[in-house]
Amino acid sequence: MARAAVRGRLSWALGDVVELIDETRRVRSIVLDVPDWPGHRAGQHVDVRLTAEDGYQAQRSYSIASAPDDARLAITVESLPDGEVSSYLVGELRVGDKLELRGPIGGYFVWDPDRTEPLFLVAGGSGVVPLMSMIRERHAIGATVPTKLLFSSRARDDVIYRDELEQLASAGDGFEVIHTLTRMQPDGWTGYARRVDTQMLSEVAWPASEMPASFVCGPTPFVEAVASALVSLGHPAPAIKTERFGPTGG
């Protein structure tokens, strides 16, 4: 079974916030030093817990954005309207603060760097976060498995990790990014400008005959549509791993 499956109790750890990176207007990466962090696999998440002065607490789960080999742990958080925890993390948290978390959690939606099948990653908005951990790990360890990221964002300014993705894609090691901008496109845009659909997937995805491993993460309707379309294109269901977040969050 999975390497990081069961480690005994996951206890709460206190991480130091050492860097904050504004990825877009509503999305921020939080880089943490976590003493005794047990390590993670690309695709896993952590639980974050906030405590108010009077003891009131709120918890949420966030995907890990950093690669397992990175010295520091990073999560990337989208501020949701009315989001109790996300608005604090994106709006209030500062470098020098501490953040309580426990993990890593989840052992199914993970990429095993020993696997050699082509990778097809499909992200809707902040669904790119766990996939970024995989992309960063792939690059960090010098893996060359052919990898495509199909990334759906509303507009160019909403593309999370835009510059880093561009750099990684220019490294010439078999990683390619295909963007679709669903709401607004810059002048001269020649890429996709609609929601991901079966036609787009048939043009972009590795053919089923190459037996790719697919990871799909985004809002529920996005994941439903992409996963169903991949099945209709002949990809076997067990080769398609999904992670969804609903309209509710926090």
Binding site: T51, Q57, E84, P238
Partner: protein, 202 residues
């Protein structure tokens, strides 16, 4: 439950929140989030069956038609997902597991629920007995939507909702406990939300 006080965090408290109904670490939602590990399966009803496996040499199997002819009941319960959301007063219609196991001789202590898409989850027999668990096929008066587990899902509301297996196709009777899908990936073997048993060791 103590914790590190987060500078500047006040929280969005629901003034009318009924703490007797919201387990520790959970927050209330009005909508119905979806979580599953792979594509949504779509088994046609004329190919759908529900089976009790392990009571004898042959499984006991119902077709969809025979299954729906069993007596069902309305169920109004609160549900708690391990990803932290709680939804109050959800309305279902389904068949009690008591009805399905009625008259079946066995010596099981546990069950392993199995679903389309190779999903499984383990439960002590006593947690699916005496009116505590159902196979549900209606939600809010409508057939259960595929993304929420339709045509039929297990409903075990007193445990975290991953135990309420979507797309359920049967129960395997066991004389021991055996980890299901998420339980093999570090989630708790039992999953009591009131004791916050989210992960192994909690």
């Amino acid at each position: 439950m103590t914790g590190y006080v987060s500078r500047g965090f006040h929280g969005k408290r629901e003034a009318d929140r009924d703490n007797a109904r919201v387990p520790p670490g959970q927050y209330l939602v009005e909508d119905f989030p979806v979580l599953s590990a792979g594509p949504t399966p779509h088994t046609p009803l004329d190919e759908w069956t529900f089976s009790i496996v392990g009571a004898g040499p042959e499984p006991i199997t119902w077709t969809w038609e025979a299954f729906r002819a069993l007596p069902s009941e309305d169920i109004r319960v609160d549900i708690h997902c391990v990803t932290k959301w709680t939804k109050l007063d959800t309305n279902w219609n389904g068949i009690s597991i008591d009805t399905l196991l009625d008259g079946i001789e066995h010596h099981a202590s546990h069950v392993l629920a199995f679903s389309d898409g190779d999903y499984t989850t383990n439960l002590p027999l006593e947690d699916v007995s005496d009116g505590k668990a159902w196979v549900a096929f209606d939600y809010d008066g409508e057939p259960l939507a595929p993304e929420h587990g339709g045509p039929a899902r297990l409903l075990v509301p007193h445990l975290y909702f991953w135990k309420s297996a979507k797309w359920v196709r049967g129960l395997q009777l066991l004389d021991h406990d055996e980890a299901g899908f998420w339980e093999s990936y570090g989630y708790h073997m039992y999953g009591d939300p009131w004791r916050e048993q989210r992960y192994a060791g909690d």
